[in-house]
């Protein structure tokens, strides 16, 4: 028995250690965002210092972060809503008619490296005058979110019993009527998962915005990346900016963690 209890103790110590390691970068980011440059540069008192929110006020006053937040939000929101408009019916049809070939096309969209279509996009969007517009960014981000939306929703629709649709049909519903009025409300947990994945993927996206965004549509990842192009890195402001980007996502994920788990594991575990 004593042996067992000691093993349990070791297990708890290991769990605590793993938790500390995985949370540390977040803690470090928040600590550094509350320090001034001199405090960050000094290695004497790492954890004991007088916190100040000066970095945050600086980020908003000097670097126009409100605009970047709005840009990121518009693109993430638009690409998610449009992704749902395209993806929900497609997922339903793939699930109902067992169109597994389409499923594979979607899989390919998930797998192809984004960079292999960046050059044509850049050329075409330039010709159409769409570089540095929300349109180009939204379209490109939809491509990241849509495969996840369809993927997650196929298994949601497959999980619904066929009788539901049948009884709606008996009551005089058309197929499309049954889809909109009966089935869609029932898969709303799946829709929440899919929307969150799509939103987060767009919010975090870097490469597409690096090429397609300009001064008017710069999203948060680009804005924070630009901090390190200055000759001396303003670490405090950079960390404050990093907190501003990650905090909304972290809070949403904590509140809706159940949905996030199924979103992330989708595609690897049988749903």
């Amino acid at each position: 028995m004593k042996h067992k209890r000691r093993m349990e103790l070791i297990r708890y110590i290991l769990i605590a250690f793993v938790s500390v390691v995985f949370l540390f970068p977040f803690v470090w980011m928040i600590i550094a965002s509350l320090k001034n440059q001199a405090q960050i540069m000094s290695t004497d008192s790492i954890f004991i210092f007088t916190p100040s929110f000066k970095n945050y006020t600086e980020v908003f006053a000097q670097y126009d972060f409100i605009k970047f937040i709005v840009n990121s939000f518009i693109v993430a929101f638009a690409s998610t809503v449009l992704g749902l408009v395209l993806g929900l019916p497609a997922a339903y049809a793939i699930a109902k008619y067992k169109l597994h070939k389409f499923g594979i096309i979607i899989l390919i969209a998930r797998i192809i490296p984004g960079i292999s279509f960046m050059i044509p996009w850049f050329i075409i969007f330039s010709k159409l005058g769409l570089v540095d517009t929300y349109t180009a960014l939204t379209l490109s981000h939809m491509l990241v979110g849509l495969p996840f939306i369809i993927w997650i929703m196929i298994s949601s629709f497959e999980a619904l019993p066929q009788e539901l649709e049948d009884s709606a049909r008996v009551d005089g519903c058309t197929l499309q009527g049954a889809f909109f009025r009966v089935l869609l409300p029932l898969v709303s947990p799946g829709i929440i998962t899919a929307s969150m994945m799509s939103f987060i993927l767009s919010w975090n996206n870097f490469m597409f915005a690096l090429v397609l965004a300009g001064d008017d549509t710069k999203t948060l990842p680009i804005a924070v990346f630009n901090f390190i192009s200055y000759s001396e890195i303003n670490w405090g402001a950079l960390m404050a900016a990093a907190v501003i980007i990650t905090l909304p996502i972290l809070i949403i994920s904590l509140l809706l963690q159940r949905y996030i788990v199924s979103g992330i594991t989708s595609g690897a575990v049988k749903g």
């Binding site: 192809i112 980007i245 963690q257 575990v269």
Partner: protein, 296 residues
């Protein structure tokens, strides 16, 4: 029901799938075809000199006369193997650690999700500060154990492993999550039989848990490998391929050629090679998927 509704209902299959399929065709298939077409040209996106047909010259140059291509190629796989192997071993180990319930397990598992959802660029820059040779916490931490400070990201040798470490920090939770989901579905009988036979925990893991879990873990590994081969955000945010070309993977090299040097024809050829590599990997996945019956 009127005639329009009937028509819609009859063709619902196509009406519902067509928008998505068209979108994918326009946004992926056509551009990839265009990239393939451009790969036979020499073109620097200038209006003065139009694209010049050079047929396979770009590919010849890539394979035989480009000092940066092969190093980038091997670096891509070095990074992928390093990152994916580390996160798989750690991820499975942590899943076993977390599997039986413990006090606060919900909280720990929830917090464990956070690295995966956080913005790679932001996280990359946080790690840049941690790895900073003179003020970063990484060297201070080593100092506690009397280990000499390292250069980390600033060293050509350590930069790529350091980035792989950040990737590991971010994606180990995914392996853990998938493994935990798999573990909870394992049948109990095998364990009871093993317990009756007096097997110890180590034997049970190697003889029962691991073989049963192999398909699940394998699916996770393949997904992670494809993402690691394509990896861009962390590398570009932390080093942009430097110091020198020490962290330049194929994706970074393609990006630099295309959007810094604007050699669009040559870049297209590089991207087609890269595209083929990822495609071959994906085909392997589809083959394995049939064998292991894992849904991707």
């Amino acid at each position: 029901m009127n005639i329009i509704q009937l028509w819609i209902e009859k063709h619902l299959k196509y009406i519902f799938t067509l928008p998505s399929v068209l979108f994918v065709l326009i946004m992926i298939v056509f551009p990839v075809g265009y990239t393939a077409y451009l790969s036979f040209f020499d073109w620097s996106m200038s209006s003065v000199s139009p694209p010049k047909w050079v047929f396979l010259d770009n590919f010849k140059k890539i394979f035989f006369d480009d000092p940066r291509f092969w190093p980038a190629f091997f670096r891509t796989f070095y990074f992928t193997i390093l990152a994916v192997v580390t996160q798989t071993v750690l991820g499975v180990a942590i899943a076993l650690l977390f599997f039986r319930n413990f006090k606060g397990s919900n909280l720990v598992k929830t917090l464990f999700l956070l690295p995966m959802v956080s913005t790679p660029v932001a996280i990359g820059l946080v790690w840049l500060l941690i790895f900073e040779p003179s003020i970063g916490f990484a060297n201070q931490f080593l100092g506690y154990f009397g280990i000499d400070p390292q250069l980390w990201i600033a060293s050509p040798k350590q930069a790529l492993p350091a980035i792989a470490m950040v990737d590991t920090w971010q994606w180990t939770p995914m392996i853990t999550l998938i493994t935990l989901a798999g573990l909870s579905q394992l049948p109990n009988e095998n364990y009871e039989a093993a317990a009756v036979d007096g097997a110890n925990a180590w034997q049970i893991f190697w003889k029962i848990t691991l073989p049963l879990m192999a398909p699940t873990i394998f699916a996770a590994v393949l997904l992670r490998s494809i993402d690691a081969v394509k990896h861009f955000d962390l590398i570009y945010a932390m080093t942009q391929g430097g110091p020198g070309y020490a962290t330049e993977t194929l994706n970074i090299y393609g990006f630099a050629n295309g959007f810094q040097y604007f050699k669009l024809g040559y870049t297209s050829a590089i991207l087609m090679v890269f595209f083929m590599i990822v495609l071959i990997m994906s085909c392997l996945i589809l083959i394995f998927r049939k064998k292991t019956e894992v849904t991707l």
